[in-house]
């Protein structure tokens, strides 16, 4: 059985794409395999770990739980879309300065969730940070420094 395909349009990090995708492929599959944006990680593929967190029309979502065809016509921001040519985003800079990265696999998702939080709340409490990151798992268990990095990014942004 050949998979059903469908033509979709996506705006990813400001760039327009028109793609033929298999309808059962996830947005994560398409970002990584068709668009070569491998910053978004595949890990649990069931919405538990948050490593594939991206922004879709201003909402943080797990790219593994969105079919690419469901993202048709949407505006997507991935981790690759946060930095400019010369500058890391404030959250990325804070993760770097705080040494919040161990193996690094969860970090793109962590950064996306942290940026999403700070967009809605520029002075989060530690509890609010932990709640905002509760859908992102770090198998290195480096949560303390990750929380501190988000606090640092919040301070830098105010």
């Amino acid at each position: 059985m050949t998979p059903q395909t469908m033509n979709i349009t996506l705006v990813v990090n400001g760039q327009h794409h028109s793609l033929d995708v298999a309808v059962h492929h996830s947005l994560l599959d398409v970002l990584r395999n068709d668009l070569d944006l491998t910053g978004t990680k595949e890990c649990c593929a069931e919405g538990e770990c948050g490593a594939c967190t991206v922004r879709m029309d201003e909402k943080a979502v797990n790219a593994c739980l969105v079919l690419a065809v469901e993202a048709d016509g949407r505006d997507i921001t991935t981790i690759e879309g946060l930095a400019t040519e010369d500058h890391l985003s404030p959250v990325q800079q804070a993760f770097l300065e705080e040494g919040a990265v161990q193996c690094g696999f969860c970090i793109p998702g962590m950064v996306m969730s942290a940026a999403y939080l700070l967009e809605h709340n520029d002075a989060p409490t530690e509890e609010e940070i932990r709640e905002a990151l509760s859908g992102n798992l770090c198998r290195c268990a480096g949560y303390k420094r990750i929380v501190r990095a988000v606090q640092r990014a919040a301070e830098a942004g105010r």
Binding site: A22, A45, G47, V61, N62, L65, G135
Partner: protein, 279 residues
Amino acid sequence: MFGYARPESLPEALELVGAGARPLAGGTDLLVGLRKGKFTADRVVDLKAITELQPAIYETHGGWEITAGTVMSDIVDHPGVRARYPALVQAASAVGSIQIRNRATLAGNVCNASPAADTAPPLLVYDASVVVAGADGERTISLVDFFVGPGQTALLPGELVTRLVLPPPTRSAAFARLTRRRGVDLATVSVCCGVGDDGSVRFALGAAGPRPLVVEDTSGTLADPAAPEGDVSGRIGELLAVATPISDVRAGADYRRAMLEVLAHRTLEAALAQREERR
């Protein structure tokens, strides 16, 4: 592998569902289930292009209506729902994670019919019902009759839930759940307690049986903040005898029973406090 359709009208969607396609709303349960082989489908029908199902929460003469496309974040953020149905907001805020709540729909949580569904207990306490569309028109099913068993609802083949209806609240209600960790976990047990304006007290229990359970105390004991603690505990114990929890990876049956009791006490206390505030 499966096919995909994105109809723009409800009749088209009903036709596809009638032909055996699976409805796709938020996809947070469906896509995982399809990948793991828990569900099978030749085709999924994306409901998100259908105007009347798109996210909306509105007041009608009979209470509040929540369309099938409304996601948990919409519920958590809605001032009208926050003011009137705080226990539903508590439960919707507990679902999954922010990423999940931005996709998962309330109607999908109900239709997935997990005995542990977070939003089921408050919806049952608030007397919610679902409006169902089928080839022959619409019908309304009280939520208490909608849950049949694990993953099983009163939906007939070819029917779709189009919206949920919440009557004006007549109970002060509070929700609590126990999980092994805060984020992205299913409830080990959950309880919603509603203290009625008429002095009745209703508990809805999650992960306590094959479907969400409802028990009610009309003796007045539980609604009386001055009732002796022994009477309250005794009455709660009698009511919770209905629970038949299972032992699984999350907890043993005995632990679940014990924790249902703890959460029943806590939610009763919170609901009584809320009744004072409402007065």
